[in-house]
Homo-oligomer: 266 residues x 3
Amino acid sequence: MIVTLLTDYGDEDEFVGVLHGVIASICADCRVVDLTHGIPRHAVRHAAVVLRNALPYMPAGVHVAVVDPEVGTERRAVALECDDGRLLVGPDNGVLSLAWPRFGGVVEAVDVSRSRHRLEPVSATFHGRDLFAPVAAQLALGAPLADSGERLDPDGLATIELSAATVAGGTVIAHAVVVDRFGNVALDLGHQDLTGTGLALGRSVEVEIGGARHPAAFARSFADVDAGDLLLYEDAYRTLALAVNRGDAAALLGIAPDDEVRLTPQ
Amino acid sequence: MIVTLLTDYGDEDEFVGVLHGVIASICADCRVVDLTHGIPRHAVRHAAVVLRNALPYMPAGVHVAVVDPEVGTERRAVALECDDGRLLVGPDNGVLSLAWPRFGGVVEAVDVSRSRHRLEPVSATFHGRDLFAPVAAQLALGAPLADSGERLDPDGLATIELSAATVAGGTVIAHAVVVDRFGNVALDLGHQDLTGTGLALGRSVEVEIGGARHPAAFARSFADVDAGDLLLYEDAYRTLALAVNRGDAAALLGIAPDDEVRLTPQ
Amino acid sequence: MIVTLLTDYGDEDEFVGVLHGVIASICADCRVVDLTHGIPRHAVRHAAVVLRNALPYMPAGVHVAVVDPEVGTERRAVALECDDGRLLVGPDNGVLSLAWPRFGGVVEAVDVSRSRHRLEPVSATFHGRDLFAPVAAQLALGAPLADSGERLDPDGLATIELSAATVAGGTVIAHAVVVDRFGNVALDLGHQDLTGTGLALGRSVEVEIGGARHPAAFARSFADVDAGDLLLYEDAYRTLALAVNRGDAAALLGIAPDDEVRLTPQ
């Protein structure tokens, strides 16, 4: 069985290695895939979007996400089963909530805060090690979900609402959602939202951010525009995004998550 | 058999990948866990503390630590067996010395500098590849320790001494030991040292560093104080540490390893 | 079968995790080794040099390299077999070309741009996920190379030419090729090029860069010179390189790839 890990722990400390050790101690044959540990610290929504985008490319298994600014408080820790059989494990703060609709929704959920699988004593600050990793490893070994915590109503699970782009007077009003390390900026605008907007591959588009206007091309890929030029493109998850060929769009535009981006076809 | 790796090689170059390749070439079925490769360059003591803290969470196996500022000189390279059967491999500069007492101490040690397992020619600068990885992989395959180098007296192994906190006139005088990437600062003060100090969960404490005084709370976890506030807490290894909720204590306090930290209960 | 990965994707995003997921989805038993994902963005030549240096330390398998500034254009994607049986997969931009001579040259090559193994729809920007990872995983499972794409003439594969050091009037005129994260600078000068240059272990050497002259020692290893001192040494791949003991040679010298470095024995 595969276990995937997504956290904001970074690669500088031993936190990720300890998760691997805890899992290997319980489940010597589990394969562990690091989805990423580079989520910006405490960025629950960013993590939820990445999990939603990337999980369809993982084999079905136990999928852990730990971005947990409220660790050590009374927030719940949960494990849940999706309709297609995938198991998700993490804090009940919405980090899992954009992923489960992709797999048919939640059919069963348990509160694992006092799971029989946890490592005692549970620290106040490292639930990845003491709670989420051992619960995930036991589930991967075959432990029944119902034995791993206290049954809870899936309707009570925390969820995250994403912003949605709107159209007004020939302009699409979108928002930045996720900025990757290349400075590419994913918007709250999908392939399916383009109908009737006038935005079309090969056309020019004006990008307005914070009052500043930038010319851009709606192109297929980076190399379709000159080095240093701005493009609007459909990224690998079919989300509309801004990039600069061989450059950094977020830096060029001074844009951060939640900022409004106005797109006007030219 | 599991092999764990801890180095200061970082993630930017191919050094870690080459260790994995060398191990996989010798021991196709070994599981390799990267404990961390983010140790600050040449920070032997930092590495020794991390190894001591994290190794109990690893399955028993062969545990390699390479932080080796004297690589290419006459410093010894060693492999040793702990009383509980764990095998430790690394330079003889103390990097292993805080870990082995956790596993019953050293029962057998060999100098592997000219080990039959090394890759020839041994480079002057990359003993991780040419010496430590192949020795570890052969040990993981089952090679006897005694055949892997020249027997040496465990009492002659290099060790690291950590500072110890003291109490004077109602103030605990501690020191910074390890700063993690979140800016959390672990002190040379453990759970067991608190008796009689007046430091207690839920109480206020004054933190003095370099003459500057900062109010703090002794709390269980980050979220028990307001964002931006300083806390003293027991970290996941039962060490007392300083943190700022949603902030960076090391940056706020201007603190680095070895700095004196004075804690006075309020 | 082993699959190795080398990219410029970095560790901050989920791109590498997605490659692992795609491979594990196709080939549950493949072992995946991350050679490195820290290649500077779009640095094809840097990647080609690292692949050439590191691949001999990997078990024979399927070796993927994705540094691909022209992704989404008409550049070819290729898979090829070396005379010793190793399989290389990547864009046809020369990134593979320094490695294959180490393994006997290319005996068979196919254009995998429209490979039956690709994931549909192929995105314009993430061929690592949609093309290179699935092709590599199928090859690792045993898919014949000839079935994985359209046969092409190996002589038409893109190659990279490296600069070569020259000697003039007692001075060796070399160039920086790769700078690692420690600031060590590998030159286009090998062990075998030293004959007759007057450069010899233990001797002093003057290093001239951009008109500035720096004294250095030709030493075996970092610790053979004082902290902060410059040394010329033979690195772990038998390439001549510049370093500063406990320092950063690239920063000290203000040197970047392609810069000329003049070495004069003293």
